[in-house]
Amino acid sequence: MPTLDMSTTPLREVNVTLQQAAKSQANAVYEITNPRGSHAVAVGLDGPLSVTVKGSTGYYCAGMNKTATIRVEGSAGPGVAENMMSGEVVIEGDASQYAGATGRGGLLNIKGNASSRCGISMKGIDIVVHGNIGHMSAFMAQKGNLVVLGDAGDALGDSLYEARLFVRGTVKSLGADCVEKEMRPEHIEILQDLLDRAGADAKPEEFKRYGSARRLYNFNIDHADEY
């Protein structure tokens, strides 16, 4: 397995090597050692590459990921898997602020906790957090699923559009226009699939579903006089 040692290889060379391998070597497996909290590790991969990062990363790890599988054997700094398109990003430790922000697809699987603004403006990504999430998570989330096995902080789902939020623990407070919704069979099915894919030891029936009350963004002709 090719190994890129970040104590001797510059970040730009690491990313160029991975980006080229993603395009040219189907299903190759790479290992990155000594990330030491570096920023922008393994970003912009566009192909079925498998990358394991042996340690913790800084800002914007695995950003814009497409098709590749990236596993961080440590914690990730702010903005992990930002704007992910597809593929899978696994964080064995915790994730800092705005994990999975604006993500359009793929699975972000965080084994520890995620801090504030997890899934902010998500647009189709699936995020599974095995621990807790911080305040203002799923703010303006448009599409996709956010699954939290632990607790959620303040203002969950503020100004939410059509993303689905599933929380097993407590929610400190719901944001504007976010409400608890009925868990129907189709939601159990979606959640079971996500829990299975994330290797999460939980039953869908233990979760509550939250979503948009659709009073904030949806224009209602009956309210025309209010504008």
């Binding site: 030491r36 909290g37 570096s38 800084g58 914690s75 700094g77 915790d94 602020q97 801090s115």
Partner: protein
């Protein structure tokens, strides 16, 4: 942006290495704040005496005969140890007020006063600032460092962090306060005055003022959440303590690490990469609007 680092040792055997560890952490945070850098270090306690750290733009002339002049002015023996643009003066504790008056009268800048705290800060890259002061060789029980990218006031020595507004107390800050002018006026009415236009100095003065009124370090830090408006990640030091608090929005980054040997704070995990035992340390992100502090 700015970078903050802090290290609070739980055991004495790492004390000689405190400056070395903090220097590496500080340099790692250079790209968060390349315009100035500073460090507050809690070293050997001057028993029965007080240490005053001063700064001068013309240290060669100002420090040359300072020892005799200061000793004469306060009518007591005082020692002067020049360190680049700074000097650490040691004198009897009861002579603090007279010494400060004399030094300020000579136009020297007071960086900090305390029985164990020394403060060194200058404009320039963190690596250069650390080398000028020989930070690596400094030992101590705890220390706080800051790399500054200026927003609220000019790039000057006095605008650099840490800020000290009471004996053995200091504060570093990442963020910007929006009610600092109002708070500066409130504090002035109480007789608490700041020396610069800087927002962080107001935060430091607020905490010192609360402690002077009888609050514990923890209570004073709790007060910042209600009384200070704006963005802040604060790290503060006292003679025996080390505290951290973030505003409720918490957009300024923060990460902490704890082992049996130390508690460490940094703006980014990168700063921890060389700390001993970091792979097995408990590493976490401090919660918003939550006070953390350690005292020995």
């Amino acid at each position: 942006m700015c970078g903050i680092v802090g290290l609070f040792l739980k055991k004495d055997d790492l004390r000689p290495k405190l400056g070395d560890m903090l220097t590496d952490m500080l340099i790692t945070m250079t790209d968060r704040g390349p315009d100035s850098a500073g460090i507050a270090i809690y070293g050997e306690e001057a028993v029965g005496q007080i240490k005053i750290t001063i700064q001068s733009d013309t240290p060669d002339t100002d420090f040359a005969d300072l020892e005799q002049a200061l000793s004469a002015a306060i009518d007591a023996p005082a020692s002067v140890k020049p360190v680049d643009t700074h000097a650490v003066l040691v004198l009897p504790v009861e002579k603090e007020a007279a010494a400060v008056e004399f030094l300020e009268g000579k136009g020297l800048r007071i960086m900090g006063v305390g029985t164990s705290m020394e403060i060194y800060k200058e404009v320039g890259l963190p690596r250069e600032v650390a080398a000028r002061f020989g930070l690596r060789a400094m030992g101590g029980s705890h220390g706080i460092g800051h790399t500054r990218m200026a927003t609220e006031s000019a790039v000057t020595t006095m605008g650099a962090h840490p800020f000290s507004t009471a004996d053995d107390q200091c504060l570093v800050h990442n963020g910007s306060l929006s009610n600092h002018n109002q708070m500066r006026r409130k504090l002035a009415k109480k007789g608490v005055f700041t020396k610069s236009e800087n927002d962080t100095e107001v935060g430091a003065a607020y905490i010192s003022s609360r402690i002077a009124d009888g609050a514990t370090l923890g209570q004073a830090l709790e007060g910042t959440i209600d009384d200070l408006d704006g963005f802040f990640t604060f790290v503060t030091g006292t003679k025996n303590g080390f505290g951290v608090v973030r505003d409720p929005i918490a957009c300024k980054p923060a990460v902490m690490a704890e082992t049996d040997d130390y508690v460490a704070f940094a703006s980014e995990y990168r700063a921890f990469a060389d700390l001993p035992g970091i792979d097995a340390a408990k590493v976490w992100e401090p919660e918003p609007a939550t006070v953390y502090f350690w005292e020995r």
